[in-house]
Every structure is written in C-alpha cells, then in structure tokens.
Amino acid sequence: MKKIFFVAMAALFFTVSAHQAKETFLKALAEYNQGHIQQSVELYESLEQKTPAILYNSGLCYYRLDNYGKALTCFRKVERRGNHEVVKKAQAMQALIKQKKGFSADSYWYTTIITIKSLLSPLFVQILFLLLSVFFVLLLYLKRLKGLKCVLLGSALVLMTIVTLTDYWFSSQVYAVVIQSEVVAYAGPDKEFHKVATLHAGQEVKVVEEKQSWYKVSFQNFQGWVEQIDLEKIT
C-alpha cells in the first residue's frame, strides 16, 4: 500500500512539474513575441530540464540581446540533443552568427556528422549493429555465409563499427564556447603565467584538462589555460 502511495505521489509530482514547465515555456514565448527578450530568457533559464526547444529559443533570445557567446552555446547544445528539424535551424543560426562575427564556419565533415546524428537515434544504431552482429554469428555457425554474402555482411558490420566508434569518440570530446567578450588564455593555470592568446565570445574550444577553476583548452594551433567562468561547456 505504501509503495502504491509513493508511486502515485511521484507520478502526481512529475505531472504537475511537467504542467508547470509547459506554462512557463508558453509564458516565455509570449514575452518573446511581445519583445520582452530579457524576461523571456530569464523564464527559459528558470526551467530545470532544458529540451532542445528551450535551448533553441534561449539561443534566439541571446542572439537578440547580442550575447553571441551564450547564443552559440545554446545552439551547439541543440545540435547534440535535438531532432533533425531543430538541428537544421540551430545550424543555420550558428552560420548566421559566425558570418556576422567573422568566425570560421564549421567543417563539412563536422556538419555531416551532426546531420547524420540528428537523423539517426543512437539507440536505433546500436540495436541495429547488435542485431547484424548476432545475425552474422548465426550464419557463421550455420555455415550459410559464403562468398558475396559474407563480404556484404562483413562490410556492413565494419561500417557500423566505424560509425559507432566515431559517435562514441565524438560524444566523449568535451567542447566549450567562450561566453565573455575578450578572454585571455595563459600558459598555465594562473594569471601569473604569460599570455598565449586572446579568445572572443562565441569561439569554440576543446577542453583537454581541468584543474581547480581553470580549463586547459585546445584551439587551432595553440593550447592554453582559461578560467572556467569565461567558458560554458557544451558536452
């Protein structure tokens, strides 16, 4: 009886929370349409669970507030989590911002990976891969695998292995976006070290190491240490 009660209370809690989240989202959308951009972004930020729609709309708000660093961060996060439609929009917004700020556009390879990821669900790919592998094993044991069939199935498995491992590698990479206007990268995790480079809001860097309140980042041809408050992680 107790278990049923707790389950019921948990279900009620989540239902109420979901309803409140929807209300807040609609209110934020209304504020955006009214031109109250700051209020709109504050409402979006107050939501705990950030769906791709919330991230995209937040990115739009930051774009209109000329906060390109935060805008790019939001759109990058949409790329990681959204479906194909919203990922396309996020990519278009990023291209717009990068054109405006004079940043280099994403490579074709990167864009292709993101597009493919948004079309395929990781779970679907994994299950397909496992099923193909099991099928291959069964055919091997039943000795039905000869010649062209073996080659085709083997090739498909190799391709899927490459795709899966690439996705795993891609997901494990930690990227961050610079959110402050002029950020200095130092040679070490302290301001006493000499300056290595200056980063601008919206630039994307790869996080290599983390130490206290500093990130070691990799960008183009250099590596340097940047304070954590100046960056926002995407993954």
Partner: protein
C-alpha cells in the same frame, strides 16, 4: 553525647551568623528615572527611561551582577556601571550603580523588579519593586512641563479608527515658540503593520495652541493599515538646541562660556504616541476585497485585436482613483475558456497629490482560433467614507485568434518595444512553439560499457568460430598425422590408467586396439601374423620381431593368468609403445 550536640549547635550558629553578617554587609535598591535623572512614574510609548540598580557593599567581598525581573512588554538595553568607594574609620563602603535603558511600546502599568544579587555564602538579596505607567500622553514633570511650552512634538492622525487598507493621513509637527530653538535631529517614526507612502516634508507653518503662538515644521505621510487590531505608533524623539537659561547663581565656567559663544543646550524631547484601532472590512459574501478608497474609472485596453494561436497579446487594465494602490495586486480577469492570461508588469503614475493611476498589464494567449468577446472586467472596492462596497466596470472588447502564424509586420507595438531587433532573422528560424518541438532532448542509448561488453562477447564468438573452422581444416588436411597421433595418445592414456589400476590384462587389449586403429582392421581380423608382417614391412629386424613375439605372448599369458603379473611388464609395454610410435 551532650558535647557532640553542643558542638553541632555551635557550628550551625556560626554559619547562621556569618550569613546574617554577610547579608547585613549588602543592600540593593531599584529606581526608575527619566533620562535627566528625575524620578519617573509615567513614561510615554516608545520614550526611553532609565532603570538604576544600586548595590551597596560594606564588606570586603564582591557581589554578582544584579538580575533584573522585567515584564516582556519592556525592552531592556544596558547603559553602564558606575562605582564609588568611601573609607570612614577604616570601614570601606563601595557603591555600584548599574544603569539600564528601557522602553515599552505598549500602554499599561508594569512592575519592574525585584533585582536579585547573589552574595558570597550563597545567599541572595532582593531589591524593592517599582511600578511604571506607560501612557500615550504621560504626565510630565514640572520642569518638563515648563519646557514643553517652548518646544514640543505632536503626532496626529485624521482618523484613529480606520478600516483595513483605508488611507490614514498622519502628521508629525515640531512646534517652537522661539526662533532661537533649533531642531537638530528628528527620529524617523516606526509604522508597524502599515504600508506607508513615506514621510514628506517639512512644511513651515504658524499655529496657535492654548493661546500661544507657535511656528511649526510639519511632516506628513499616508498610512494604509494591513491588519485589523490595535496599531501603536511609538513616540518620536527629537534632539533640539535651546537657548541657555540665565541664572544668577550656579553659573559654572562652561555655561558662562556657552552663553558668551551663543551656543545653546542640547535637549531630547519626545512626541506623544499614536494608537489606531483598525477595523476589519465588513463582510462581503465570500469575496475578499482588499481595495479601499475612492476609485473613479477602470479602463481595459488591448495591444492588438488580432493574434494567432499561442501568440501573446498585451492587455492593460487602467485603474484611476485615490486609495491603497500599494495593496492592490493584479485583479483576476474574466475571460472565455479559450483565452489564457498571465500577470505581467505593473506601472503607477501620480496624477495629482492624491489621485493615482495604476496600469495592470497582462499577456493573453488564444488557445483556439475564433472570435472572442472579452467581457467587461469588474473591480470591487470599499468606500471608507460611505462605508459601502462599490464596483467599477470596464467596457467589453473583441479579439480574433487566427490559426496561422501571424506575420511580423502586423504586430502592434503598443508596449513601445519593437521587434525590429530580430528582423534580420528569416521566418523559418523563428522560435519553437511547443516544449518538446525539437525532441525531448533525452539521448536514448545503451550505456557504452554494456554495449562494448556485448560487442566484445560477439566478437569473441565470431573470432572463436573462425579459429575453430581453421583448425578443423588443418586437421582435415593432415588427417593421417592426427589419426596416428590420436591413436598413440589414446594407447598411452589407457596404459597409464591400467598401470594405475594394476590391470595387467589390459596391456594385451591396448596393443590390439592400437594395431586395429593403425592397420584399419577390426579386432576379429587382426592376428599375430598380420602384426609381425606389418612390423617387418616397417623395418623391424628379425631379432626385434622375436623380441616382440616374446613380449606379446607374455602379455597374452598374463591376461589369461598363465603367467604371474610382474611390474617390469609396464616398463616393457611403454618401451614397445614408444618404439611403435616411431614406425607406425
């Protein structure tokens, strides 16, 4: 026995005497005075007074700090301690005076004391008790009364029995009869359980009070009581500079210098306190009306008369009048079911001294397409003067909700904030209109460790399968070698087992099985001649064949128990097995 009782009695009497003597060495007294040190019987609400506890010690030992009993209505603060010591005829008398500042914000008569002092020996001494009356307008001492004619502070209100939320205009006046009196500092009044519009002033004026002409400085504020009940506004203190009193005697050096320099004496004076008896609003059915005052109009305004589903529309209710605007929040709207609203901003505008306009902004959203009537909105308030409830109505409005995305050019800009900042965005890059429009964001996948684990197992199976098939192919290719190897391996194992179990009869059968396997004949077909012929073909010499014949015959004899079992037979069998392995 008598001696013992006597000693006991002596002991107790000594103890009693020492306590009494100790008690006689100490005395404690309690006094209540005003801040000038004059004996006080009545104090004003919020006006500080002094409590002095005097401890006189004629002995050599020290006493503890006094503990003062006070009612909870009196708040105590410590001021300080003074000490004095006097020695007469080798007798030392010390006097310690503990001073406390006290204040009360409630009317009534309160008992202060007794003060308890713990003395050495464990006893305690109590002081006297003093009763103090706290009044709105306390009776002044003679000297205070005299000075009150020159300068005083007066608190007043236009009504002392308001309703909850009703505006009460409170006035604080500093009266002075002489221009040489200066107000140095006026304490800010404390308005508990009230919303205040803030003290405004000062304003100069002239007034006649009890036949005496005074100048005054006036501050005013409007209070809105938030709760029913008694609200006491404590007395307000003021620091004034007054001219020095000219006196023929007791002219000390400082007062003489001050007179010469023209500097006055500093004095602290207090106003009266103010008590408001706040009444609850009369019952009005089940409604909880908080607006009190006199309101003249309620006007509703739409930012746009057309919008698409989900799009926000600005709606403003403008309320004009005099009243407790600070206590009025967004009124609830009466709308059709398909329209939803959210409270938005609030703006207040001062129209005249008392008249205000308050704009309540809402954001409306249409949930379904259609034409809707926004009915007249009602605003209820309580009129304090007529003591009745009244209702204001706005005019009804119409709104159309379309099912398509509205073009941006049609959006009105009544809020003053245009959407042109985002006009460089193409239409297809507008915001997402549903919470899960771009997906739920949850990336569903099998956890990587598990996935890699399953893959590894499958990979092992595949690799294992390939390896096994390769091994089988190799065996097929080298079948004769493996058959021979297996046969001798089997023979060796059987020999070892027979030796372990001392089954001598098995030796013969082991060799027969071996030859059957190597010669590919059945046990019925194999014979000594065939074996010897095969051995000869494989290169056995005549002597070797004779030796073989002897060994084989011996094993047969042992099998049928013709010959005894001897251990050397095992070694011989192994020797022949090794020899045959090389040739068969």
């Amino acid at each position: 026995m008598d001696k013992k009782i006597g000693k006991l009695l002596l002991f107790f009497s000594v103890v009693l005497a020492s306590c009494t003597m100790s008690a006689q060495d100490f005395s404690v007294s309690l006094r209540v005075t005003d801040q000038q040190g004059h004996f006080l019987k009545e104090a004003g609400i919020g006006v500080p007074f002094l409590i002095q506890v005097e401890v006189i010690n004629k002995g050599k030992k020290d006493s503890s700090r006094p503990q003062l009993s006070l009612p909870p209505e009196i708040t105590l603060g410590q001021l300080g301690t003074t000490s004095s010591i006097r020695t007469i005829n080798n007798d030392t008398v010390s006097k310690k005076t503990y001073q406390y500042s006290a204040v009360s914000n409630q009317v009534g008569t309160f008992t202060i004391g007794p003060a308890l002092v713990h003395i050495p020996g464990g006893d305690e001494i109590r002081s006297n008790i003093v009763a103090v009356k706290i009044a709105e307008r306390p009776k002044l001492t003679e000297s205070a009364e005299k000075e009150a004619h020159q300068v005083f502070v007066e608190f007043s209100a236009d009504t002392t029995a308001p309703y909850v939320g009703q505006a009460v205009t409170v006035s604080l006046r500093f009266y002075y009869s002489d221009d040489s009196v200066h107000l140095d500092h006026l304490q800010e009044p404390v308005f508990k359980d009230c919303k205040s519009s803030g003290l405004q002033g000062p304003r100069n004026g002239q007034a006649t009070v009890d036949g005496v002409q005074y100048g005054y400085l006036e501050w005013q504020t409007t209070l809105f009581p938030t709760h029913a009940g008694t609200i006491v506004i404590p007395a307000v203190g003021a620091q004034v500079s007054m001219p020095m009193e000219r006196s023929s005697h007791r002219m000390d050096m400082f007062s003489l210098v001050n007179q010469m320099l023209g500097t006055g004496r500093q004095k602290q004076i207090y106003s009266n306190s103010l008590t408001l008896m706040v009444h609850d609003l009369p019952a009005h059915g089940k409604k909880n009306v908080r607006a009190v005052g006199k309101f003249s109009s309620l006007h509703g305004k739409l930012g746009s008369e057309k919008a698409s589903v989900g799009e926000g529309i600005n709606f403003t209710l403008e309320l004009v009048g005099e009243g407790n605007f600070q206590m009025i929040n967004h009124p609830s709207l009466i709308l059709p079911e398909s329209l939803r609203y959210y409270d938005s901003h609030v703006k207040e505008h001062q129209l005249t001294d008392k008249m205000k306009k308050k704009d309540f902004e809402y954001v409306l959203q249409g949930l379904k397409p259609g034409e809707y009537d926004i009915p007249a909105q009602a605003f209820e308030y309580f009129d304090g003067k007529t003591k009745s409830y009244k209702t204001l109505h706005s005019r009804p409005l119409k709104i159309t909700i379309t099912g398509e995305e509205k073009r941006k050019t049609e959006t009105s800009s009544t809020t003053g904030q245009s959407q042109s900042a985002g006009s460089d965005l193409p239409d297809n890059l507008g915001p997402e209109s549903t919470l899960n429009g771009g997906g739920t964001g949850r990336i569903r996948c099998i956890a990587w460790p598990w996935f890699m684990g399953i893959l590894f197992v499958l990979l092992l199976i595949i690799v294992g399968r390939f390896l096994w098939m390769g091994w089988l192919g190799y065996r097929e290719k080298n079948a004769s070698y493996f058959v021979s190897r297996d046969a001798f391996y089997q023979a060796e194992r059987s020999l070892k087992k027979a030796r372990k179990e001392k089954k001598y009869a098995e030796i013969y059968h082991i060799f027969i099985t071996l030859f059957c396997s190597r010669l590919s004949v059945s046990a019925a077909d194999v014979s000594e001649e065939i074996i010897e012929r095969t051995l000869k073909e494989k290169g056995f010499s005549a002597a070797q064949i004779i030796a073989w014949r002897q060994f084989f015959a011996r094993t047969l004899a042992v099998t049928f128990a013709v010959l005894p079992e001897t251990d050397d037979l095992w070694a011989e069998a192994e020797k022949w097995l090794a020899l045959l392995k090389g040739i068969l």
